[in-house]
């Protein structure tokens, strides 16, 4: 079970791939700084832009540096589940903190 099975288990990235990802990440870092500092985007959308860029960067790291793209889907699911539960925590907490002064909801 050892020899021939190894290939699909252990993906080996080429140096070129890794350098390309890193370059992409650095470019995105520059983009996010430029967008934040020099492009006037109205209030909530500046955060949306910054987070969107960060999500793309996070995807690159997770998929290619952390090998999720080639890995078993279950590990990717774990990552997504972690993020999903974090979002649940935030969203439900906001249900309280953002609506404290609102009137009581009614049917």
């Amino acid at each position: 079970m050892s020899g021939q099975n190894h290939e699909h288990h252990h993906h080996v990235s080429t140096a070129g791939q890794l350098w390309a990802i890193a370059t992409g990440l650095i470019i995105l870092t520059i983009v996010t700084v430029v967008v934040a500092k020099f492009v006037p985007i109205p209030a909530p959308f500046d955060v949306v832009a910054a987070i969107s860029i960060a999500l793309v960067k996070a995807f690159l790291v997770a998929a290619f540096f952390m090998n999720l793209y080639w890995d078993t889907k279950f590990n990717a699911m774990l990552l997504i589940m972690g993020v999903a539960f974090f979002l649940l925590m935030v969203l439900i907490t906001l249900l309280d903190t953002m609506f404290r002064n609102d009137i009581v909801p009614s049917f």
């Binding site: 079970m1 589940m81 539960f85 649940l88 439900i92 907490t93 309280d96 903190t97 609506f99 404290r100």
Partner: protein
């Protein structure tokens, strides 16, 4: 195993392995001495060390409980001061929750049983397993330190801002619980990995014992919720050290936010405590009914459903806290949804009894007690989930009674069921059945006498965490106190006959209850590596309609442990090699 590549046409050479009734070497005799225990990576020994520590803490928490009940014999001062009382109830809560209930079933019994039910030699990360035990010990030392040094008087919930200004040793306990959290996380991580990667050939997801499903659901909660407790306690510690102000109203922070953080862990934590209990009930009830479980998938998936929905309901601890009306409404609604899978389980267990062959041995008696007490706990939970009723009942003895019915009537009774069930396997000794039944009766009577009056005084308006109380509640408090003494005697009796059985107990056969569970196909007590063969599983764990021989199969030749369990052993031809 070149033939194993093509699963449908392969031939598994299996052989019948009847467990020896008189094992020469067991995990207890293979290596001896204190050092072999302290450095062991054997999941069985680690499980027992956990069991020992949990028992010690249960003793400590129990003594505190009896002292509390004694103080409440009369209004005002009976024999201790208000501050002492406040420290006692805080430590009783903190010890019972963090040091007893959370690790009791997963880390103690689960550690012992899980790899055996999977047909594995050990958990995936044995050294992490040992580390988790020592982390537990370090957390315990921190808490002990607080106990002798100023105590802790915040309530186990650590609500801010009281916990920020309290004079007691809050930091020691928060750090203790913080450290303890890692022990819980490591156990959870270990179990998830073990369940995914270490199953013996033929154990497909549909053939997992329900105990494993329950431990799996528990591990998921442990992994997802415990880190949030860790960060919450760390923030509280920083709050006391630097006054970071996030939860401190004096600095412009928000105490209700702390409650969200705290309950995001602590509500799922009650499922960490109870769900593994569900697993034990499923194992015991089928064994002693000699019957297939009713609704396997309903029970298995409802554990997962509870685990997930359990994350969405934490705000029902906060209906009167001043959280927003929207949040209150949503939390109440979701709370009812989590009640449904729990109800489904109860009814499935009762249906399992139908047309069974029921033998009322001690573990089964505890299952009956569990079903009765836990149902009461569940129904009162529905009561507390409904908004108007909760406004009246919140923070009264009704709540105290409710969670004791769930946590003690549920988890602890399930633990006792499991302990009696697996005791012969763990120790190789039988306990005295008659004394065990007396013990169960004492527990049942004492428990109800302690906590039923608390429902009544709670709905009459008696608030919890009260040192002093108004005269009209005296009779309820006194009944409750007497009940708690009976309960105490019951636990002493159990400790007594279990200890006696270690030295003078009859030798246990490999499978005293006639169970079809895989763990019973090992010797009692098991070999250091659990089985002296690699088990092959063809039948489900509850196939009581099939003969025992079909459950005693193992790979005839040495080598693979079916690393890839998706290879269904039923699909393969079995060639039974005669003994």
């Amino acid at each position: 195993m070149a033939t194993a590549e093509v699963s449908n046409t392969r031939t598994l050479k299996v052989k019948r392995f009847k467990p020896s009734e008189d094992p020469k070497k067991t995990y207890l005799t293979e290596e001896k001495g204190l050092w072999s225990w302290l450095t062991t990576v054997d999941h069985k020994k680690i499980g027992l060390m956990y069991l020992g520590s949990v028992t010690l803490f249960f003793l400590l928490g129990g003594v505190l409980a009896l002292l509390l009940r004694t103080e409440l014999l009369t209004p005002a001062k009976t024999f201790i001061e208000a501050d002492t009382y406040n420290q006692f109830f805080t430590l009783h809560g903190a010890i019972m929750v963090f040091f007893v209930l959370v690790p009791s079933i997963p880390a103690a019994l689960g550690n012992f049983i899980l790899p055996m039910q999977l047909g594995a030699k050990d958990v995936a990360f044995p050294r992490l397993n040992l580390a988790s035990f020592y982390i537990y010990v370090i957390g315990a030392i921190f808490t002990f330190f607080a106990l002798v040094n100023n105590g802790l008087d915040t309530g186990w919930t650590f609500y801010t801002p009281y916990s920020i200004e309290s004079n007691s040793s809050v930091i020691w306990v928060t750090l203790g619980a913080f450290i303890l959290g890692f022990s819980s996380i490591l156990t959870g991580t270990n179990f998830i990995t073990t369940i995914h990667k270490m199953r013996a050939p033929g154990i497909t997801w549909g053939k997992l014992p329900l105990n494993i499903w329950a431990l799996y659901a528990t591990s998921i909660i442990q992994v997802l919720a415990t880190p949030v407790l860790a960060i919450t306690l760390l923030l509280l510690t920083m709050e006391r050290v630097f006054g970071i102000g996030i939860f401190d109203p004096a600095m412009g922070g928000d105490p209700v936010l702390f409650q969200h953080f705290f309950w995001f862990y602590s509500h799922p934590a009650v499922y960490i405590m109870i769900v593994p209990g569900f697993g034990i009930i499923s194992e015991v009830i089928t064994t002693f009914s000699k019957k297939h479980i009713f609704g396997y998938w309903a029970i298995a998936l409802s554990s997962l459903a509870i685990a997930f929905i359990g994350f969405l309901v934490w705000g029902h601890h906060m209906f009167t806290s001043g959280q927003s009306a929207v949040a209150t409404t949503v939390f109440s609604f979701l709370t009812f949804l989590v009640g449904i899978p729990t109800g489904i389980k109860i009814l499935n267990w009762v249906a399992t009894l139908y047309k069974g062959s029921i033998e009322m041995k001690t573990p089964m008696i505890y299952v009956f007690i569990f079903l009765f007490l836990f149902s009461i706990g569940g129904f009162t939970g529905i009561m507390l989930g409904s908004l108007a009723a909760d406004i009246h009942l919140h923070d009264t003895y009704y709540v105290v009674a409710h969670f004791h019915y769930v946590m003690m009537g549920g988890t602890l009774i399930a633990l006792l069921a499991g302990l009696h069930f697996w005791w012969p396997k763990m120790t190789g000794k039988m306990y005295n059945e008659f004394q065990a039944k007396i013990g169960a009766a004492l527990i049942f009577i004492g428990f109800n006498m302690t906590f039923l009056p608390q429902f009544i005084m709670g709905s009459q308006g008696m608030p919890r965490r009260y040192y002093n109380y108004i005269d009209q509640f005296t009779i309820f408090h006194q009944t409750s106190t007497i009940g708690s003494y009976i309960l105490g005697v019951g636990f002493l009796l159990i400790a007594y006959y279990l200890l006696v059985s270690l030295f003078r107990g009859e030798k246990a056969p490999a499978n005293p209850w006639g169970s079809r569970g895989l763990e019973w196909q090992a010797t009692s007590p098991p070999d250091l590596h659990n089985f002296d063969h690699t088990p092959v599983i063809i039948n489900g764990p509850y196939d009581y309609h099939k003969p025992m021989e079909e459950f005693q199969l193992g790979l005839a030749d040495s080598g693979h442990n079916g690393h890839d369990p998706s290879h269904d052993a039923t699909g393969a031809k079995q060639e039974v090699v005669s003994n």
